[in-house]
Symmetry: C2
Subunit: 298 residues, 2 copies
């Protein structure tokens, strides 16, 4: 039985693949203004966990995919560009106004707001280019792309960010917290796993992946809210208690830390159950990842 | 021989098609937060000329395309969503800081900066969804999409905006002005015409369209610089002399109004020549559009 140690070896090897792909796609020297490239790379290489790309690769490999490099890595790496775009814009003064991210100055603190806005925009545009690379047939690429757009569009990450922004100071309700959690984080994490499933062409995994991905995504966001409430600033890498101070509609504000913890655990256990019924013992990377998500301290 | 009067009838009928498509794609009521939808629609329906969609439709029709509705309208309308995204972000305080656009308050003045940033982001994401609609085969959609991404990515509109932002107060040089003009405006206008050509599947038009589109795009940006220099504020719909006051690297700052005018005329005449040699008298919509672009007062 594989355990935590094997998981970190698995995780690090996929991280390296993703980071190599991003570096190849957006090297230090290349067309376009240097400042824009520097700003994009600054946030891309600021120590992200690469959760979304790794979920895509994991979803592909578990379902039987055999050619990570050409069939899923471009799409997986593109997810990280998009995630980075959302973080840069989310940190802007007009949004969450965060000076630090992952223990480093946020993009606009280094490059100024104008370039930070453009760096985010450009990451999104260039992510589409990268997403369309690789050897998948055009119809499969478009199917994966539509899955992505559903996850990040007006009723996905973008909608979640807008509601989150507007929710400051409002009384948290179940409906509001649920919308923010599913849209701002849940659907994108779910899409990552589903895109890996589509890439594998083993379409029997797609529906179970939706449920696993949804649960992992919600648990991830609940864990984020818990970290804001009780996390250690140095370990988390950004200011804590910030959501609470701004009166954000978080899971912990609504239910408290104890219930948040048990709900996250329940979501993750359900995801683990589905993964085990799909893949038996081979499900171990998803099991370990799901456990990491609720136990993480950063 | 068709003339100016026929051209406006042509223009208005295609404008209506594009506006109907946008309204259908992003109706007042639909999924996602209402405020985001309202903000997106506010700028989408703020009186744009619809130049880029009309160029795509024109390129398709002149090359023999017979099914505007299904083979080019989704892509054409998506270009307007993307153009609108660039305008919203360009008007932000951290960018060009414009309070007015087309005679109306700019997006962030109405909805606040946070929602304006998200409205721009969401227009870009949803544009990709719209761009992938219609009956074109998947490989043709991807070919059109790659043309678009080249035009708006790090060495396209985004790169042009970054250099434009950084050029404030710098001595205008030929190289700098050329980069800003080709990237910020030229390539996107060129791509619109080329995408129409690809959609028609009459691939013999693609290379001539590149040259026509490039010239029209550059002439359009030169005309924009002239309008900032000598335009009437009420007619232009935004503050004039603004580029001059901010020390922007414009064509008129480098060469003066007289040379700017004659250069724009020369570019447009060359484009007209190529269009006539392609289509003879049938080229009239491009001829009239090209003339409008250098003679426009708004």
């Amino acid at each position: 039985m594989n355990g935590e140690k094997d998981f970190w070896a698995y995780w690090k090897s996929r991280q390296r693949l993703v980071e190599r792909k991003i570096d190849e796609f957006l090297p230090k020297d290349g067309p376009g203004p240097r400042i824009l490239r520097d700003a994009m790379r600054y946030s891309l290489f600021a120590g992200g966990k690469r959760l979304r790309p790794i979920l895509a690769i994991m979803g592909y490999e578990l379902a039987g995919g055999q050619d990570v490099e050409n069939e899923v890595l471009p799409q997986a790496a593109a997810l990280e560009l998009i995630h980075t775009f959302t973080l840069i814009h989310d940190d802007l003064p007009a949004m969450d106004d965060d000076d630090y991210r992952r223990g480093k100055l946020s993009n606009h603190k280094v490059f100024g707001e104008g370039i930070a806005i453009l760096a985010g925009d450009t990451l999104l545009v260039e992510a589409i280019r990268l997403f369309l690379q690789g050897t998948q047939p055009p119809d499969v690429k478009i199917e994966m792309m539509n899955e992505l757009i559903d996850a990040i569009g007006i009723d996905g990450v973008m909608g979640g960010q807008a509601v989150d922004l507007q929710s400051e100071g409002k009384k948290p309700t179940e409906e509001l917290v649920r919308y923010i959690h599913t849209r701002k984080t849940g659907r994108f994490i779910r899409a990552a796993l589903v895109i890996g499933g589509i890439a594998s062409r083993n379409l029997s995994v797609v529906e179970p992946y939706r449920k696993i991905g949804e649960n992992i995504g919600l648990a991830f966001q609940i864990a984020d809210d818990i970290l804001d409430e009780i996390g250690d600033e140095a370990t988390v890498g950004k200011k804590v208690h910030k959501d609470r101070e701004r009166g954000k509609c978080t899971y912990t504000a609504l239910y408290g830390v104890a219930k948040a913890r048990s709900d996250a655990r329940r979501l993750v256990d359900e995801a683990i159950g589905i993964a085990r019924s799909l893949f038996g013992e081979d499900a171990w990377p998803i099991v370990e990842l799901a456990n990491f998500i609720v136990e993480r301290t950063y």
